[in-house]
């Protein structure tokens, strides 16, 4: 009994340690970014400007898509993030039929949100061709395409299907002869370069425009909506730290399209980090020297290890506390047990990404949401193994314990749980290893951990960065395995570990 107490106290002490160290403080400026390079660079620049002003600024990077960032801003989980006016008008506030910037500002103000002026560039859809094609066919404007019905069009699936994408473009310019092929955005550049298609859709600040030397066709009928880059921030941030907001808003009008393309290219093609690219820009534009903090790999990995351990330890401990009693009930009340196991199994089948996204409206983004999801995923192995371990105790042993006159509670404590301990421990071990792996997905909703570099690495196609997250995650899983094997030596009674030594 004493050894169980020691283990429980040890885990509790670790939890307090990580909980106090790992969770965010409240007096800080939290900047969010979407899951693509440009958004991360803009947020990094804002971080640099805020820090140069003396603010405590954290960057919760690559939180996901528009909906997640917008909800996080409304909920106050983040204070500021880069957005595009077109996205606000056509997606987020689409129901309000906003016609101009004044109406947009008013609509945001009603929600306690303010918007900066344009940062200086618009990132909207455009059509691009190779320079050779443009020169040969003398194409400079989208309306020139009408005269060349044989050109092969290759569009991203999103562009093909969006109401303001291809269908609207076709109608606006009268391009009925063309039947475009749908393909992945990243593949489109390669297809264009190797000549299998002639025209693709791009975003006006894509790094590839520079690297492939593409020619952008002029939107001569002003069809595409304007997607001016802006910062959105909470009105209460301005009341709290007007100095920081003013410092960040110095960026208004300072980034033009070529500058943004160059920064995107520096990250995507030259493999420089967003932080470094942002710092270089801030130094050039504002004369501020940004010294990167926590830049060494060791420091980064250590920081993420703490975050990852926080996610795993809290969720796993909570799962043990809940799943153990559930497993005991499942073993002794078979009918209730089937229900418990059924529910817990169904939870297990929900795809992790879906579960995370379901919980954002309720719990917001960040570590707590990830911890709840990990907690739910850890239940099944522990519940099942506890129930299996207890049901596996043979009738003679069970009868002997009853006949001795032990109460049911004392039978559980003195006989049944110790005898089931190998199975229970194996369940906890499985849960821990699944948990460590799944926790990497927490980065998708801003929970940090080893998933962060993996996510960034996938986006940038940077293998080294993926390894920076994947290798420690694998090592942590191995360490957990070893630790549980050691714990087994300590917690599983010796009599259950011995092989039968006497035959008769």
């Amino acid at each position: 009994m004493r050894r169980y107490l020691v283990c429980v106290l040890g885990v509790a002490a670790c939890l307090v340690l990580f909980a106090t160290g790992g969770l965010a403080a409240n007096d800080e400026l939290r900047i969010g970014s979407k899951k693509f390079t440009e958004s991360v660079i803009l947020a990094d620049i804002a971080v640099d400007l805020g820090r140069a002003e003396g603010g405590r600024v954290v960057h919760r990077q690559e939180l996901g898509g528009t909906r997640i960032l917008w909800d996080a801003l409304l909920a106050g989980t983040i204070d500021l993030y880069p957005e595009y006016t077109g996205t606000l008008i056509n997606e987020i506030l689409a129901g309000e039929a906003i016609a101009n910037e004044a109406e947009l500002t008013a609509a945001l103000a009603r929600r306690g949100i303010r918007m900066s002026r344009s940062l200086g560039f618009s990132d909207t859809y455009a059509l691009a061709v190779l320079p050779g094609t443009a020169d040969r066919l003398k194409i400079a404007r989208i309306s020139d395409l009408v005269a060349h019905p044989t050109l092969r069009l290759g569009f991203s699936n999103e562009f093909l299907n969006r109401a303001d994408g291809w269908p609207a473009l076709r109608d606006a310019y009268g391009l009925p002869a063309h039947t475009p092929t749908g393909l992945d955005h990243d593949l489109a550049y390669r297809a264009l370069a190797d000549g299998s298609i002639d025209v693709i859709d791009v975003y006006t600040t894509d790094a590839e425009i520079a690297s492939y030397g593409l020619r952008i066709l002029d939107d001569d009928r002003r069809h595409f909506p304007v997607y001016d880059a802006v910062f959105l921030y909470r009105a209460d941030l301005f009341e709290r730290r007007p100095d920081l907001v003013r410092a960040i808003l110095r960026l208004e009008g300072r980034i033009d399209v070529p500058a943004m393309i160059a920064m995107n290219a520096a990250v995507r093609n030259d493999r420089r980090s967003e932080t470094a690219v942002a710092a270089a820009f801030v130094e050039r534009q504002f004369g501020l020297l940004i010294t990167g903090e926590g830049d060494s790999v060791a420091v980064r990995v250590w920081q993420r290890t703490l975050e990852h351990l926080t996610l795993t330890l809290i969720s796993l401990s909570a799962a043990i506390v809940v799943a153990l009693p559930l497993g005991i009930i499942a073993a002794y009340r078979p009918r209730v047990g089937r229900l418990i196991l059924g529910v817990v199994s169904v939870i297990q089948t929900i795809p992790s990404l879906a579960l995370l996204v379901f919980m954002i409206p309720v719990l917001g983004i960040g570590a707590p949401t990830a911890i709840v999801a990990l907690f739910l995923y850890s239940l099944l192995p522990i519940v099942r193994n506890t129930a299996t371990g207890l049901s596996g105790i043979t009738p003679p042993i069970r009868d002997a314990a009853i006949a001795l006159g032990l109460t049911s509670w004392r039978r559980l404590i003195r006989v049944e749980l110790p005898m089931a301990s190998p199975s229970i421990l194996a369940g906890i071990k499985t849960a821990a290893i699944i948990n460590i792996g799944t926790a990497t997905l927490g980065a998708l909703i801003g929970a940090g951990g080893y998933g962060q570099p993996i996510l960034t690495g996938i986006r940038l196609d940077n293998f080294a960065l993926i390894l920076e997250g994947a290798v420690p995650a694998a090592l942590m899983a191995l360490a957990a395995e070893g630790l549980f094997d050691l714990a087994g030596l300590y917690m599983i009674p010796r009599g259950l570990r011995l092989k039968r030594s006497i035959r008769d």
């Binding site: 009868d399 002997a400 006949a403 006159g405 032990l406 003195r414 110790p418 092989k499 030594s501 008769d504």
Partner: protein, 246 residues
């Protein structure tokens, strides 16, 4: 005094005990015997309260065995089963003293009692620190007997205690059991399928068949005045083993 009054118990529609009545006097050693499935082990399970009768009652010294009285009554009984039923995660010593610890006996009282029982069951002292997997079958039964006797029960219940042992060890333990029963003078109810063992250990033999008592008496009566054709057959089948074909 133990009484079974009109006890009936069935499992899944099959009658294991059929309207059975039986009284055991204090200090008596009674051997329950009969073919497999005759209900003899079920009768023990009813006495220990592992199962409850469909009809009828089990009474111990005037107290009817119920869900609420079972816990108290069990602590006055010692129970030994075929393979010992020792808890594999505890050493022999921990197995023996488990209830004494639960009841808060001081350490020296536990130690004294343990030593008395160890001498009684003729186990070597080092055996007590081993785990059940490290013990031989005979040693396991001796430890199991120590555990059953630890709280000095009024009643000792043994369900085929020697059933899994080979003949040499079995004979050895039969001698020891007889000596222990004589020394302790407790009420003993022993289930066996071996008539010779029943005759050797029991003052009284109760022969069961199909959930009923066929005959209740001593060995001599069973041999000389069988109450039914079944008793005659049963005795003959067992008897052949000692005398060989005639």
């Amino acid at each position: 005094m133990i009484r079974f009054d009109g006890v009936t118990k069935s499992y899944n529609g099959i009658l294991a005990i059929n309207d059975l009545s039986l009284a055991l006097n204090a200090g008596q050693t009674v051997a329950l015997i009969g073919p497999s499935g005759c209900g003899k082990s079920t009768l023990l399970s009813l006495l220990v309260g592992l199962i409850s009768p469909d009809r009828g009652a089990v009474t111990i010294d005037g107290t009817t065995l119920t869900a609420s009285s079972a816990l108290r009554l069990r602590r006055r009984m010692g129970y030994v089963i075929q393979d010992g039923g020792l808890f594999p995660h505890l050493t022999a010593r921990e197995n023996v003293v488990i209830m004494a610890r639960e009841l808060g006996w001081p350490a020296d009282r536990r130690r004294d009692r343990l030593e008395v029982l160890r001498a009684l069951t003729r186990l070597s002292p080092d055996t007590l620190d081993r785990y059940p997997v490290e013990l031989s079958g005979g040693q396991r039964q001796r430890v199991s007997l120590m555990r059953a006797l630890m709280l000095d029960p009024d009643i000792v219940v043994l369900d085929e205690p020697l059933g899994a042992l080979d003949p040499m060890i079995r004979a050895d333990l039969q001698d020891d059991l007889k000596a222990i029963f004589l020394a302790l003078r407790r009420t003993v109810l022993l289930v066996t399928h071996d008539l010779a063992e029943a005759a050797f250990l029991g003052d009284r033999i109760v022969l069961m068949n199909r959930g009923r008592i066929e005959q209740d008496g001593d060995f001599q009566e069973l041999l000389e005045r069988p109450a039914s054709a079944f008793v005659e057959q049963f005795v003959k089948a067992q008897d052949r083993r000692f005398v060989g074909p005639r």
